[in-house]
Amino acid sequence: MIRDERLIFEKSVAGRIGFSLPENDVPEVDLAKTFGEGVLRDSEPEIPEVSEVDVIRHYTNLSKRNYGVDSGFYPLGSCTMKYNPKINEDIAAMDGFSRMHPLQNPLSAQGSLEILYRMDKLLSEILGMERVTLQPAAGAQGEMTGLMIIKAYHISRNDEKRVKIIVPDSSHGTNPASAALAGFEVVHIPSDEKGCVDIASLETILDDTVAGLMLTNPNTLGLFEEDILKISEMVHKCGGLLYYDGANMNAIMGIARPGDMGFDIAHVNLNKTFSTPHGGGGPGSGPIGVVKELVPFLPVPIIEKRDDYYVFDYDKPLSIGKVKSFYGNFSVVLKAFCYIMMMGSEGLKSASQAAVLNANYIRKKLEDVYDIPYNRICMHEFVLSAQRQAKNGVTALDIAKNLLDEGYHPPTIYFPLIVHEALMIEPTETESPETLDAFINTMRRLAGQAETDPEKLKNAPKTTYVSRLDEVKAARTPVLRWRP
């Protein structure tokens, strides 16, 4: 392969063009006269001058240095890297959806409104909630929205002393970050020896200053919080609300529902559980569902059906307002809608069952060569520890980098924080047993090499476009843009 490290800017040739625009067919405005002094640009921005073929080659080459779900197995824990069905992409790209303006008359957008309305109903059913808002653009924004609703709820009851949000020490980093942003004080509770919420610790924290508890279930260890009913009873008894972080919803679709567990608010990541692609880091979509009592606080607008027409309802005096422009990431919602339509109830349940079976299969086949701190039947993911290998100098990072050379995207590493040398593995349901077996063999071979020839594992990756990158240098002397 020809190695071309140049940025698109470094391929620029003055005078070359890559655009094709119609000729201007109206009178030219005299810019200087119309806009006067100081309004027009002094110097041109350094946007590259390249041809269309330059652009296509450049970005095609860049794409070859990237790894997607279609490239191969991507067992990135907590991220649910399942296959992204192609039909969903095609439908979302149709002119009739993609070329709709959000502010056009709702009567001229009934197809789009119907999707939003039906998606609210579908997700409400899957989550066991009363209503769903599709506005949050990602899971983290769903959390933020949920926390604002918790705040608004307590304030509406003149209960303003509730300033604390409880999060487990195994929680996603977004949980405490969102809580802090919404103006709450964050209290961490430890996990017990089984890897679940420590009930005794929870008991000591609960009082009338607690606004709510954020929990993901199954938790980030891939374990179901067996005491969830007890936890929700305890939190509700002290007047707090329960927030469900739906990042791990892929384990329980059609099997159990956050609403039935006692959660008051739940988000789901459509870019995880409902198969929409992650786009290299976004766009996502993080709808949240709420119980009946919290419906008045949802962001506006709510989509309602009146006299056979779908309408936007902005008349919600208790609403927290808007968390994002318009109605959320519509095209992502549309793809997830298509997914649910093709899966049906049975399909969603099968997906969760296969995801859980796949995770347990890998766990079982690796338990003798890696440590598994909380080793019991897991849900859709589990956490290995490379502490045994680390004694020989082979860390979780080394294992991850060796997996790159083997053609895999590695698992999530060093998370959750409560497991040393963590490797969090989530295979999803869209992987075949043959793929799992091949991965298991590789992991076993690496464990063996960590015993016999640990030094050999220290220099990976060797086959990738770049070798290990100096992250310290990047942070110490930040170079965040190209300069001419």
Partner: protein
């Protein structure tokens, strides 16, 4: 397993259950208390085949009046610009769109380099020192900018021009509601001022509102009415008060208009949807966020940085992660985890294709065509001018009949009319915000003007 997305066969399932050491699928879920297990099927429609889904979706599409067969003169923050074919050929490459956030840089150089290029282009357009990898949309980018300013200055009030997009202000209000940061809105000059300033921020009122608690001044240019604001003068006022100037700017306009950085802004944010992204009924969008150097380490969201690999070759990583939630948890600068990477890639490819000349040409045609449409509408005598200041791509007129009625009747002529400003500005009752991009031809504009004129004269009835 009946789904084509689940490869496990019945036989394989049995073998795998045995390997795990359980007798049934149910046993795998035994950790879930019995009373919590769903005893019924989810009440959702029976599964569709791909072909059936396609057919059903086509019936929904038929109820949508999209801009491929309706002439779009609606803007108000989201714009119907031309998108070159090459853009989607790149963004449909699976290596980009099916990847996760680039946590493993060695196999993510494609997306990381594209983010680095995106950051460079946004910095260039805005005249800033650095940009992040993007945020959800312009509105949430403004919210993050206000937070940054309040934390940096340790002050608690943001002054926001009322000529800033109302959608942005709504998001700002809900976002800051529980933060202890207050918002004070500054009126725009209304009426028939002849000094070419009507429709812009009232600088007298702004001056009076500035005090030692002012964290930032927020101004949009072109503002919601399409009018160019005097960022330079406003930024001087901010500087004099040790407050930050946050400029909300449209990236297409920056092909021709002076950059906010050069005019003294500290932070530039805005909606980069017009850079090659479809309108998508309002989402996903692309919030850009760019700053001068003192604020770099306080930026929210992902940032790509250049570094070297163990052999000294250039490479890219996510950097300055000490700001972020997965490291700092509740002390993070923001809770944001995702960016809008694919939309940012779209913008990067779009800008690469356009180049500096193409972008300038798009901006120029927006100016020419909106000016042409504005003058033609006034000439019919069926619409009056409202403001007197120069505008970009979008302008305000007051037609003889209400915008609501006008829009309804235009729709039956396959025209998506402008934005009814009375929804957000009671004082602009009857005023209509019309956008004209480079896509509209002279013939289309003439048709639009003729229809508007006829409808206003009562010539067309539904």
């Amino acid at each position: 397993m009946k789904s084509s997305y689940i490869p496990m066969t019945r036989e394989q399932q049995e073998a795998m259950l045995a390997a795990v050491g359980v007798n049934s699928m149910e046993e795998l879920f035994s950790a879930i208390p019995e009373e919590l297990k769903l005893k019924k099927d989810l009440n959702i429609p029976d599964p569709l085949s791909e072909h059936e889904l396609n057919k059903q979706m086509l019936t929904l599409v038929e109820q949508n009046f999209d801009s491929s067969w309706n002439l779009c003169f609606l803007g108000a923050g989201i714009y119907d610009h031309f998108i070159p074919s090459a853009v989607k050929h790149i963004t449909s490459r699976q290596e980009f769109y099916t990847a996760y956030t680039p946590y493993q840089p060695e196999i993510s150089q494609g997306i990381l380099q594209s983010i680095f290029e995106y950051q460079t282009m946004i910095s260039e357009l805005t005249g800033m020192d650095a940009a992040n990898a993007s945020l959800y949309d312009g509105a949430t980018a403004l919210y993050e900018a206000a937070l940054l300013a309040a934390r940096y200055t340790d002050r608690k009030e943001v002054l926001v021009a009322r000529s800033v997009n109302p959608e942005y202000r709504k998001v700002l209000y809900s976002g800051l509601k529980y933060s202890g940061i207050t918002i004070k809105e500054i009126e725009f000059l209304n009426g028939t001022a002849q000094d070419k300033k009507s429709g812009t921020l009232d600088s007298g009122l702004l001056q009076a509102a500035i005090n030692e608690n002012t964290a930032a001044i927020v101004v949009q240019s072109p503002n919601f009415f399409g009018i160019i604001e005097d960022i330079k003068t406003i930024s001087q006022k901010a500087k004099a008060a040790d407050a930050l100037l946050i400029a909300v700017c449209d990236p297409i306009s920056l092909g021709i208009l002076e950059s906010p950085g050069a005019l003294g802004a500290d932070i530039a944010v805005g909606e980069a949807q017009p850079l090659g992204n479809p309108m998508n009924f309002g989402g996903p969008l692309l919030g850009y966020f760019a700053v001068k150097s003192p604020y770099i380490r306080r930026m929210p969201g992902r940032i790509a940085g250049q570094t070297t690999d163990s052999e000294g070759r250039r490479g890219f990583v996510l950097t300055l992660q000490a700001r972020e939630q997965h490291i700092r948890r509740e002390k993070a600068t923001s809770n944001i985890c995702t960016n809008q990477a694919l939309c940012a890639l779209t913008a990067t490819v779009y800008l690469s294709l356009m180049g500096k000349k193409g972008l300038k040409e798009v901006a120029r045609q927006c100016i020419n065509k909106s000016d042409y449409a504005y003058k033609a509408l006034l000439e019919t005598g069926q619409a009056d001018g409202v403001f007197d200041a120069p505008f970009f791509r979008e302008f305000v007129v007051k037609p003889k009949i209400s915008p609501e009625r006008l829009n309804n009747e235009l729709l039956s002529e396959s025209i998506i009319g402008g934005y009814d400003l009375s929804k957000d500005y009671p004082e602009l009752e009857g005023c209509w915000l019309v956008a004209v991009t480079e896509k509209r031809t002279r013939t289309e504009i003439d048709l639009f003007v003729r229809k508007v004129s006829k409808i206003c004269q009562g010539g067309i009835f539904i």
